[in-house]
């Protein structure tokens, strides 16, 4: 009874069986109008049933494809692809080293830090490919752009033209925009980086229903993951810190709690250590835990000029 295994509704299957169609072969040669008459359904419904059948038989005949699940890839193919994957550099060699070349595409990287740690704008200006930025906080200083361009000796105008900027003012706008990004990136095929600064801003104040917040954040995280995977873009999400009370002491943790901490592929925490800024890899499936110093100069983010040049592996 092959018909029973087709993904059709129970009533449709019942009609097929009572009309005598029990195997897929019997359905492969019948026309939609004939089927519609036999089953006493509309012709569009008969067409849909036949489409389902042909898809099912196509899936079975492509047993030459190695994967048992449609759309899956073997790890070997993924390894070959990964070797050609682009990394987005952060202009700071130490940081790039611990990141394995830079921020990887197809992943969602979360960067969080205390106020005063400036990281967001550098990524935008480093690459002259199109970047998309969602700005939630109050300021953005485009004037850093011309100075950063001096390094590459390109026209500031070229840089700024490649940046698409969206300003969001509420959490619903933020969710709507993440949904819209799919369409946007399909139209603008050379988007390479999506930066969201900062993702937590609209969710921290005035949000009464915590359960709703967790659900909404979870849905948004999945959307971003899907975007990163589907279009091969690097999604960078910036976060704020808050204090957490555990073991009798306060310490800093990223905002939005533990439920959000599972929503990114990689997590980098920026912090002060004495007089230096440090970036520390907090979570990653493939990178070792390490920390590297960096400094903020008028030209953007660069290697730090301290005596301690060695990267600390933890």
């Amino acid at each position: 009874m092959e018909v029973l295994r087709l993904p059709l509704s129970a009533s449709q299957k019942g009609k097929l069986i009572s009309a005598g169609y029990t195997s897929i072969a019997s359905l492969s040669s019948v026309s939609p109008s004939h089927l519609a008459l036999d089953l006493k359904v509309s012709e569009t419904e008969a067409l849909e049933i036949l489409k389902c059948v042909s898809e099912g038989s196509r899936l079975q005949s492509t047993s030459s494809s190695l994967t048992i699940v449609n759309g899956a890839q073997s790890a070997w193919d993924m390894l070959q692809e990964e070797e050609t994957c682009v990394h987005i550099t952060t202009s700071c060699a130490d940081l790039d080293n611990i990141l394995g070349g830079g921020i990887s595409c197809k992943e969602v990287t979360e960067i969080g830090g205390v106020p005063g740690i400036e990281f967001n704008l550098q990524l935008m200006f480093r690459y002259h490919m199109i970047t998309v930025e969602l700005e939630a906080r109050q300021f953005i200083s485009i004037q850093k752009g011309p100075k950063a361009c001096e390094v590459k000796m390109m026209q500031p105008k070229d840089f700024l033209e490649n940046i698409s900027y969206f300003r969001v003012c509420s959490y619903t706008e933020q969710i709507a925009l993440t949904n819209y990004l799919d369409k946007f990136i399909t139209e603008h095929k050379d988007v390479k980086v999506v930066i969201i600064d900062s993702i937590t801003f609209h969710f921290r104040q005035d949000f009464d229903d915590m359960a709703l917040r967790t659900r909404v954040l979870g849905g948004m995280a999945l959307n971003l993951m899907k975007l990163a995977r589907k279009f091969g873009v690097a999604v960078v999400v910036l976060n704020q810190v808050t204090t957490k009370f555990s073991d009798g002491a306060f310490h800093l943790a990223l905002a939005l709690g533990d439920s959000w901490s599972h929503s990114s592929t990689n997590r980098i925490i920026l912090h002060w250590n004495g007089n230096e800024r440090y970036a520390y890899i907090d979570k990653s499936p493939s990178l070792r835990s390490a920390s590297a110093p960096y400094s903020v100069t008028p030209k953007g983010i660069r290697n730090s000029n301290s005596n301690k040049k060695r990267i600390k592996h933890i």
């Binding site: 073997s74 790890a75 979870g218 709690g257 901490s261």
Partner: protein, 238 residues
């Protein structure tokens, strides 16, 4: 009698007796026998303890995780037919355990299906683990590496419906294909797929979660597969 429900509700013996009283009852008896045989295939067969024990000894083996202490904890390893849940806070190593188990099974035992909901599947990391397990030098490991990596299939799922789709496909394909043997299914992480649908106005969330659980257990039991899902712990929201 016009529906299956009517058939099931009636006493079969009385039906057969009344059928014999009619003339031309052969067709009806054949119909009844056919229906009974179909009904038999729909439910799980009754098994006694001995049959269950035999099934467990012959079919439901333990898959070694590659890590001795984990194997000791699990009394041999991940048992086929069981769904094992890995729970822990963020960065506790759940994904790494999944990689380790996947590499070990892919190298030695059979096919692995890895369903990834957080873009965290890293072929480079798997390559590192396989290299270490095989114990041979970096440049000699290529053949083993290729074989092991070809045994792992990775599919990205980003919502619960995609997951259900994949599980249904697996069910269909595993029943028909005899050659390729899947030994392990890993879902990392299942909580990120279920969290957005639970609670609130969505009445179906709980039902969807239960269906996923049911499908996983059915796949595990019928096809002698070990299933590993990873879940997260979180404390109250800040």
């Amino acid at each position: 009698l016009s529906t299956v429900e009517d058939f099931l509700v009636h006493d079969v013996h009385k039906l057969v007796a009344s059928a014999e009283q009619l003339s031309n009852s052969d067709g009806l008896k054949q119909g009844i026998n056919q229906l009974l045989s179909i009904v038999e295939t729909c439910h799980q067969p009754w098994m006694n303890g001995l049959v269950l024990l035999e099934d467990r000894e012959q079919n439901k083996h333990c898959l070694s995780t590659g890590c001795k202490s984990l194997d000791v904890l699990l009394q041999g390893g991940l048992r086929e037919g069981h769904v094992t849940e890995l729970v822990g806070p963020s960065s506790s190593g759940k994904t790494q355990v999944c990689f380790q188990v996947a590499s070990n099974v892919a190298m030695k035992l059979g096919g692995v299906v890895y369903l990834d909901s957080g873009n965290s599947f890293s072929p480079t990391r798997i390559k590192q683990i396989v290299t270490r397990i095989s114990g041979s030098a970096e440049n000699q490991v290529n053949g083993i590496l290729q074989q092991a990596l070809r045994n792992i299939e990775c599919h990205a799922v980003f919502d619960i419906y995609a997951l259900l789709n994949v599980l249904h496909q697996l069910q269909l394909n595993l029943e028909s294909q005899a050659g390729y043997k899947v030994r392990l299914i890993i879902i990392d992480s299942i909580s990120s797929l279920i969290a957005p649908i639970l609670g609130g106005n969505n009445a179906q969330g709980h039902a969807l979660m239960v269906s996923v659980g049911y499908l996983l257990k059915k796949l595990a039991d019928r096809q002698n597969i070990a299933v590993v899902v990873s879940n997260l712990i979180f404390y109250s929201c800040w």
